[in-house]
């Protein structure tokens, strides 16, 4: 079920009403209902893969118990959890990639091994819930978290529908306890949730889906277009992916708030970053911090030699790229971001910009840094979007060849500009419509109405969320 579909418009109020009718005193019943609702939400896409989530949840529940119960074989139990979860992820997401590259490598040396690829459907959201369940077992192994005995609560945590298919990737330490506490409905939380859902829908439907029309056409026919159009195509994709993914996160966080849950912030206005390190502190925060805590730091982080640290940096960026999909384009995208990051790190400037610019007019210095970082990001997104690495290089060469050619204007880019203006104004707050109390009601309602109007106007372009495929 998509957040931007009619089905969800019907689903959400029904689930919301029943959930609060059950009452906050009956936590277990609420959890059971959330679990059932989440399985309906996921099963709407393909019910066959519900077994996969259930299996993954059962394994991690049992492993969690065992890790706590015994001092022996703790590593073995953790290995079991890692093997099952990463094994499923590897099979569904990476099997064909490895087979293809294995065969290609042998062909290079004149051999032709008889290994065929499989027609595998990638279960939606597998990368997200796999990482979420892994955080549970790893944190128990590290003794940062005690295991839960509430099987239903744990299952509901793994499959919590607002963030099941595209995050934020929640840590068990933060989200799981919320399933065992009494959830209260407050006006402020409900209002914030509704506002955040509205802003997420605006970013998805008005910005991402409209920019997608141009990005799809320009990337699909890039050989026909001139430099200016290719640049517009790259810009359109830049806003598409931000509107799409951060829009999803906003809807997820807003929806969770309606049920009394607090999810972590996943985006903090990344396109206003003044260097690439700041960008990565603001983009897909739940994944970046997951890799930092469960990969980078265990590898030694930045505590070892400079060489070791640089290797760690490249590892984390490459793994992060590979997490997105089984394609060399994602790996190159990760590598390119590592290359952007390393000079800042070596100059020890990676923690220079920890907070947003204070003033509305950023000044030339800040503005030029924002523009430069944004330009680097746009170029990197070309690899992310391209069909293959060759296509990405051709596309970038096309941009810098300054040639004429078929023109295709980005008619919807002003909508992206509108989003940027609103977000720049609200950059010190949580999301675009996160108004403080001193904003007059008429102004708030006017902006809500404008968002609703634009959503209704552009609704027909419904497209799936990009990150569903990851």
């Amino acid at each position: 079920m998509l957040f931007n579909s009619i089905e969800f418009v019907v689903f959400l109020p029904i689930v919301f009403a029943i959930y609060w009718l059950i009452g906050s005193a009956r936590i277990k019943s609420q959890n059971l209902f959330l679990l059932a609702s989440s399985y309906v939400f996921y099963g709407w896409w393909d019910y066959r893969f519900l077994a996969l989530i259930a299996f993954s949840s059962v394994v991690d529940f049992v492993v969690g118990q065992q890790l706590h119960r015994t001092e022996k074989f703790r590593k073995g139990w953790l290995a079991l959890s890692l093997t099952v979860n990463l094994g499923l992820l590897g099979f569904f997401k990476y099997y064909n990639f490895f087979v293809d590259n294995f065969v290609e490598a042998f062909r290079f040396f004149g051999q032709a091994p008889d290994i065929s690829t499989l027609s595998i459907i990638l279960p939606v959201g597998i990368s997200f819930y796999t990482f979420q369940t892994l955080s549970y077992t790893i944190d128990i192994y590290r003794r940062k978290l005690g295991p839960t005995k509430d099987f239903v609560g744990f299952m509901a945590y793994v499959s919590f529908f607002p963030q099941l298919v595209a995050g934020p990737i929640e840590r068990a330490t933060k989200l799981l306890p919320q399933f065992f506490e009494k959830r209260k409905f407050t006006y402020a939380q409900g209002r914030d949730g509704m506002r955040q859902i509205l802003w997420g829908l605006f970013k998805k439907i008005v910005v991402a889906d409209t920019c997608a029309i141009f990005a799809n056409d320009i990337f699909s026919n890039s050989a026909e277009y001139g430099s200016a159009t290719l640049l517009i195509g790259a810009l359109c994709f830049t806003f598409q992916i931000y509107g799409d993914f951060s829009g999803y996160s906003d809807i997820a966080i807003g929806t969770a708030k309606l049920f009394g849950f607090n999810l972590m912030t996943n985006f903090r206005y990344p396109y206003f970053s003044r260097d690439i390190a700041e960008f990565w502190r603001r983009w897909h925060i739940s994944l970046s911090s997951w890799f930092r805590d469960y990969v980078y730091i265990p590898l030694g982080g930045s505590n070892g030699t400079r060489k070791r640290t640089l290797i760690n940096i490249f590892v984390i960026f490459l793994v992060s790229g590979f997490w997105h999909g089984a394609n060399w384009t994602f790996i190159v995208w990760g590598g390119l971001n590592a290359l952007y990051f390393v000079p800042i790190f070596l100059l020890k400037k990676n923690r220079n910009n920890l907070d947003h610019v204070d003033y509305f007019w950023p000044g030339w210095n800040n503005f030029s840094h924002i523009l430069f970082t944004f330009s680097l990001t746009v170029l990197a997104w070309v690899f992310f979007r391209a069909e293959n690495v060759g296509h990405a290089f051709d596309y970038i060469v096309g941009i810098f060849s300054f040639t004429g050619g078929k023109w295709h204007g980005g008619d919807y880019l002003p909508l992206a500009a509108l989003m940027l203006i609103i977000e720049w104004t609200m950059r010190k707050r949580g999301f675009g419509l996160d108004f403080s109390a001193h904003v007059p009601k008429w102004l708030r309602w006017t902006l809500y109405s404008m968002c609703v109007w634009l959503i209704l106007f552009f609704f027909g372009e419904e497209q799936a969320f990009i990150y569903f495929q990851f």
Binding site: Y187, G190, I213, W445, Y448, S449, W453, L456, F457, F459
Partner: protein, 312 residues
């Protein structure tokens, strides 16, 4: 909870009020009759839209629209005839590209939004049950066009005769052929709806006792030579079937008009339209005098009119 629900209710009521006011203002677009001049009505896509000038007829209207599939022509024609009782003769475009599935792709793919935006006042709400269309885009069009803003523009589906003064643009032949027949690489296929809705047009005009003539406007020889055989076969089969049904088919596709009479490889320019309109008028008048079009045996009237053609 009550406070939140109250706020949501007030906000939704205000929005609903705004939408309802627009609906009241715009509702006439669904019901207003269209007023057309004359007893002859010219319908179809860009081929007759550029090649039959209604001003050269005694009394006629041309409501052709570029890229119009027979599905849309049928509903538009239905509305036009129901609102204009004086119409007794319909000239409907009939060409090779009517048979290409690319016309259907305009209703199912990315461009369907612009198509529905033009034609929604004449389309039935149960259209998605009759043909495969993007349902979200189809119903969303009604919501957007009727409720989001007051709309005072004239009916967008009417079209009309378009004068193109310039001469043959030789740059776009390959692109035109690709667009019409090979949009996604291989041959795009035959439209499953062309026959169905052409039959609907025939049944409807017969039921209303209106004479129907299918008119095939000239195509440039370079264009003709590149049309897939599958399309030609489908066209010829239907042409024969229509002829057997007693429908007059004026097929001038193969006439070798001079380049100066074309706007591009599949449309006439204004000068070409003037000549072609006269030709059609004469042809209809001759047929009426001879009464030859009933169960006609003439496969290609162009064969007997070659002497009338310029630069032949």
């Amino acid at each position: 909870m009550k406070q939140l629900l109250k706020s949501i209710l007030i906000f939704c009521s205000l929005m609903a009020g705004y939408l309802a006011i627009n609906l009241l203002i715009n509702f006439h677009r669904l019901t207003d009759p269209i007023s057309l001049e004359g007893n002859v009505l010219i319908v179809g896509d860009s081929h007759l839209n550029t090649s039959l000038n209604p001003d050269q007829f005694a009394s006629a209207s041309n409501i052709c629209m570029g890229g119009e599939a027979y599905i849309l022509t049928f509903y538009k024609l239905k509305k036009a005839i129901e609102d204009n009782g004086q119409i007794d003769h319909v000239l409907c475009g009939f060409s090779y590209n009517n048979f290409s599935a690319y016309r259907d792709a305009r209703l199912t793919g990315e461009k369907s939004k612009s198509q529905f935006s033009k034609y929604y006042p004449v389309l039935p709400l149960d259209l998605p049950e009759k043909i495969v269309v993007n349902e979200t885009k189809f119903y969303h069009t009604f919501l957007r066009e009727l409720t989001l803003y007051p709309n005072f523009s004239p009916p967008p589906y009417l079209g009309g005769f378009v004068k193109y003064p310039y001469e043959l643009d030789k740059a776009n032949l390959k692109e035109t052929i690709r667009k019409h027949y090979y949009t996604n690489g291989p041959f795009i296929g035959i439209s499953p709806y062309t026959e169905q809705f052409l039959d609907s047009i025939v049944s409807f005009t017969t039921e209303k006792n209106i004479e129907l003539t299918l008119v095939s406007a000239p195509l440039h020889r370079e264009y003709r030579s590149r049309i897939p055989e599958e399309i030609k076969t489908a066209f010829n089969k239907t042409k024969l079937r229509m002829t057997r049904k007693g429908i007059l088919v004026l097929d001038f596709l193969d006439i070798s008009y001079n380049d100066t009479l074309f706007k591009d490889y599949d449309h006439l320019n204004y000068e070409g339209a003037q000549i072609f309109t006269e030709l059609i008028k004469k042809e209809i008048s001759n047929r009426k005098m001879n009464g030859a079009h009933k169960k006609q045996d003439i496969e290609n009237p162009a064969d007997i009119r070659q002497q009338d053609l310029p630069n032949n």
